[in-house]
Symmetry: D2
Subunit: 109 residues, 4 copies
């Protein structure tokens, strides 16, 4: 899905790598929360308490998503804007904007 | 948070235990999906692909939530309705309905 | 979609009628909010401010939905539970629970 | 909240104006849908049918939001990117990206 590019270019495109450690910690915490609801089901805890935990996981995933959207727009889209300004090729921007909008649309559902 | 009751009563109250194995498998799969996005971040995959994966996790968690809501209403709320009919104490039902509605409200956010 | 029944039965089934006036006021306010974003678009207001308004409408609609779910469970589902207890026909409850769960599922999307 | 600027600049900044008529039509349709649920409540229609209608309104509002996000990113953020490239002032972009991310975050809740 991803075209292989030189490492330096990768770092320009993949903005989240700047906060990679923080992001990985957050995702590891969410993984632990999901394992936690597995344990709650196994121990036959009260449904409502499990639902509350799932809401917490949803909120944590939303934060991760938002962080990725922010990084993507500030790196990938902005990059495309500058390149399209230099080359006069507007389609680079349109493509990136359409792509991130579609991704946000999937998150909203 | 949960009052300790006899095992048999627990099983009446905690309806999800009937599909416990299927539910545990689903949760284990979600845990794997979360671990997967950790790996994607670590390997600096494309943001949009990670966002798509998060949308899939959201959808999977929604399904788990819905299953728990369905089990809870069909066991816990229905149970309370029958007991309140027998005892004439309406408050048992009101409490359960308020509780599940609040849980759904947290999921909607 | 709806089977026509005698007025009294309607009132038992349609629990929201108890707070009908409050509910109608809330919906009228949401209608005004939607008209408001139309006006904002017409006057070419700042996108972000319109998005903020839409978030407020989403929240208001969520509250209306939750109120309807609560009324539905406390009237319709509880009613079905009592009737199924009397008649021994469990399918009445199952049908109602499946129906409300599907409705909640559509709201979660 | 909005700084008053010359009309031409407005049109650059407020990208949604290009599809203004289509957008206004969509919003008018949503207004009608909200009025419709008011009528359903007034006529004491079945809760589940009203909930289904609310889900349709949610989906319609999501589409409007997404359209506004797309226009905002492709105009406002891209504009800021180009200006910041010209002036060397990165803060213009950062501000715009933070602003749109916050708006998306409010939609996700």
């Amino acid at each position: 899905m991803e075209t292989t590019t030189a490492p330096t270019d990768e770092h320009v495109r993949h903005g989240y790598t700047t906060n990679k450690d923080a992001l990985l910690k957050r995702i590891a915490r969410i993984e632990g929360q999901v394992r936690g609801i597995g344990r709650m089901v196994d121990e036959e805890k009260y449904c409502i308490d499990i639902l509350t935990q799932i809401s917490a996981i949803n909120a944590a995933l939303h934060k991760v998503s938002l962080g990725l959207v922010e990084d993507h727009v500030s790196h990938c889209v902005v990059d495309a804007a500058v390149r399209s300004q230099e080359t006069g090729d507007q389609s680079i921007v349109t493509e990136k904007v359409t792509e991130v909008t579609a991704a946000i649309g999937r998150l909203l559902r």
